[in-house]
């Protein structure tokens, strides 16, 4: 239900499922819980207690497919290895992904914010193990929970046993001898525990505390092109991995070519013999299916893949692909003498793979006269046409992002200083040009309404030329602090 037909959050809503032959509450919202209902309660009983209760039948298949779609969405955005964690969650292998978002906490905030924009309220936790993150996301009150590496044990002890992903009857059985929290279960001798309750609680405990590996089997969209190779003997040597990766890339590119597609991103998964899946992802600025180039990019990422005791399966997929028609190579016709605008997307992709997407860019003009706001980053693959920077006004070669205060000796308020001291050295001004007055942008902030700066180009005895400015117009105190700053050095 979306839009105007959606009920308000205050309306108690329950999802009706079946427990045996009984129609019972399977899920409910906060309002229903406040009205005194509880999970597993018979529907007839609930409707008697809350007359205006909204009932909806549980659609298990529909929920599962929606969760799968959500997993595919998260896979596109966050990490190659994402799986649905039914009935109500996602699990993301965030190993080596968080730095792309500026840290783990920022990544979680980003996940929550994006889900919020589509009307989903999410609780997110990041921890050393799937089991740990699962428990902390569901059984704590914090919407965002970051557990530092190694700190998982302490956080888990206080949580209820139900957080261990055990079947409900086992949770009930464990409650009878008095096991309420994970800490209590963890402190018990494992032998008798296994004897009485089977291996399941111990397996889940080990998974939650990260003692047992639990691979996250990634989701695949049915339309995603993918190729896989299974090895009879596990491989681990970097050269061998690179060779098979290149072979798989050729296969994937052939599949892309058959579909007239070009990949915008390629994910690689390495299934280790010790039941762990390593992954790597490359992004491409333009759709591509040049096997040699893609293999080179992927092989550079192999550095980050730890093969452990060996890899026995490799999977390569193109989760994001766009139509790519055949293109005639101009150089082949016109001969190598004609040097058309070169295709640099390969270089850009290589540099991005190595330095990160934030570090490869062009600088183009922004609509602002204030020097530090007049430059903005643009994707390296774009070719911005023209610029709006001044051609005749002096602009320094080196521009200091944080202007440094300077001491000046000025003769008249309207003139450039006669000398100034910067970084402990006094420099006499021999020649000067200016002022170039720059006004505050009142449409951006009220405080800038009356502000102005006067920029001067000054030259000292040795011919070094500097760009200095006065914060203010030299008279009106509301225009600025009237102090002088060093803005840059000319070449």
């Amino acid at each position: 239900m979306q839009g105007k037909s959606a009920p308000s959050p205050e309306t108690p809503i329950v999802m009706v499922g079946r427990i045996g032959r009984r129609r019972a509450i399977a899920h409910m919202n906060l309002a229903a819980a406040k009205a005194g209902l509880h999970l597993g309660q018979a529907v007839a009983h609930a409707t008697a207690l809350v007359p205006d209760l909204l009932l909806h039948d549980l659609d298990i298949d529909g929920d599962a497919s929606a969760l799968r779609r959500l997993a595919l969405w998260a896979q596109r955005l966050y990490s190659p290895t994402v799986a649905a964690d039914p009935p109500d969650g996602l699990v993301i292998d965030a190993t080596g992904c968080a730095h792309l978002f500026g840290g783990e906490e920022k990544m979680l905030i980003d996940i929550r914010r994006r889900l919020e924009t589509v009307g989903l309220t999410a609780k997110v936790a990041i921890a050393d193990s799937w089991g740990g993150a699962h428990a902390l996301a569901r059984y704590t009150l914090r919407p965002i929970f970051v557990v530092p590496a190694g700190g998982l044990g302490r956080e888990l002890t206080g949580l209820p046993v139900a957080a261990l992903r055990l079947p409900p009857e086992l949770v009930l059985a464990l409650a009878k001898p008095g096991f309420d929290t994970i800490g209590e279960l963890e402190a018990t001798a494992k032998g008798p525990l296994a004897h009485r309750f089977g291996m399941e609680p111990i397996r889940r405990l080990d998974q939650a505390f990260g003692r047992e590996r639990e691979p996250i089997e990634p989701v695949f969209a049915p339309e995603t092109l993918r190729v896989a190779k299974i090895f009879a003997e596990p491989i681990g040597a970097p050269e061998t991995m690179a060779r098979y990766l290149a072979e798989l890339t050729v296969e994937l590119c052939a599949a892309l070519e058959a579909a007239s597609l070009g990949a915008k991103a390629i994910d690689a998964w390495f299934y280790r013999v010790d039941n762990r899946i390593e992954s790597a992802r490359i992004g491409l600025s333009t759709p591509a299916r040049d096997a040699r180039r893609l293999a080179k990019l992927l092989c550079e990422k192999l550095e980050t893949v730890d093969p452990g005791f060996g890899v026995d399966k490799m999977v390569l997929a193109a989760p994001s692909a766009e139509p790519l028609a055949y293109k005639q190579d101009d150089a082949q016709i016109a001969g190598s003498a004609v040097r058309a605008a070169a295709d640099l997307s390969g270089l850009i992709d290589t540099l991005v793979a190595r330095l990160g997407p934030q570090s490869v860019y062009r600088l183009t003009s922004a609509d602002s006269d204030i020097p530090e706001r007049s430059v903005r980053k643009a994707p390296a693959i774009d070719r911005p046409a023209g610029f709006s920077w001044p051609v005749d006004w002096p602009r320094p070669t080196r521009f200091f992002p944080h202007p440094e205060p300077i001491e000046t000796v000025a003769l008249l308020p309207d003139q450039p200083p006669a000398s100034f001291t910067w970084r402990g050295m006094r420099r006499r001004v021999r020649r000067a040009d200016g002022p170039e007055r720059v006004f505050g942008e009142w449409w951006k902030a009220d405080a800038e309404l009356a502000r102005s700066r006067d920029y001067f180009q000054v030259e000292d005895d040795t011919g070094e030329r500097y760009w200095i400015y006065r914060d203010g117009d030299g008279e009106d105190p509301s225009s600025g602090s009237q102090r002088w700053f060093m803005a840059g050095v000319f070449g």
């Binding site: 540099l351 600088l363 920077w389 051609v391 080196r398 011919g463």
Partner: protein, 253 residues
């Protein structure tokens, strides 16, 4: 012991060595500066394409590398194609690059976190055909690193420019260390060209060629590069502007 070597034999040997040295090169072309006294003293009559060139600033410019960066921009502005600019400190001001003849559509920036990253990015760029050249801002440049850059430049025919820039002025002594670069330049500022009115005139540089393979070191005073990247001889050295001819001006008293 008899010396059988004659000048002719030596010449033949030199030619052989030269052929061996330049076997891998795709180009032996040069990019002239368009300033005859400068080009005349460079082997081939200009800055060799497909080689590594080092540029450093004099005095305090060793810290900022502003003159060196503008000199490099001026060279590449006159070449064809796009430029990859690798750096650690993002303090190069794009509007000034545009004024030096490198507008936004011609420059791609790559920020690395350390000098090894800058060198690796440079090498990657140099391997890529279709760029005009690659600029890297580095402090330390070892023989091995410079040799790698030189070989990569030879194969693609691009201009590689290492803008040398240090954290302290004292570190600039590093410029004396040998590298595999084709040329080594030092650009220092001089008081700008005088104007008839108060103000800052066209900047002037004291350009020193400290080292040049198959060429001699020299220095020259020049006016800094303009919006198209061209250097110019200061007016008193080049042909003076035409003075007033007799009969052109008239006065009434």
């Amino acid at each position: 012991m008899a010396h059988s070597s004659s000048p002719a034999a030596l010449d033949a040997l030199r030619r052989q060595v030269r052929a061996l040295e330049t076997e891998d090169r795709v180009t032996r072309a040069v990019l002239p500066f368009g300033v005859p006294p400068l080009d005349a003293r460079l082997p081939g009559g200009g800055l060799a394409l497909g080689s590594l060139h080092e540029v450093a600033g004099g005095a305090e410019e060793a810290l900022y590398g502003a003159t060196a960066a503008r000199f490099a921009a001026g060279i590449l502005a006159r070449a064809q194609g796009e430029v990859l600019w690798c750096r650690r400190q993002a303090d190069l001001f794009a509007p000034s690059l545009a004024q030096a003849g490198l507008p936004p559509e011609r420059v791609i920036f790559a920020d690395a976190s350390d000098e090894a990253g800058v060198l690796a990015a440079m090498e990657e760029g140099l391997r890529w055909p279709g760029l005009a050249g690659v600029v890297g801002e580095v402090g330390k440049l070892t023989m091995t690193a410079s040799r790698r850059l030189q070989l990569a430049a030879e194969k693609s025919g691009q201009i590689a420019i290492a803008v040398r820039r240090w954290r302290r002025v004292a570190d600039a002594a590093d410029l004396g260390q040998p590298t595999a670069a084709q040329t080594r330049w030092r650009v220092s500022t001089l008081p700008s060209s005088p104007l008839p009115v108060p103000g800052v005139g066209r900047p002037r540089w004291f350009l020193e060629l400290l080292r040049c393979r198959a060429g001699d070191a020299f220095d020259i005073e020049l006016e800094a590069c303009d919006a198209k990247g061209h250097l110019r001889l200061p007016a008193p050295l080049a042909n003076r502007p035409a003075g007033p001819h007799a009969g052109q001006e008239r006065a009434v008293a």
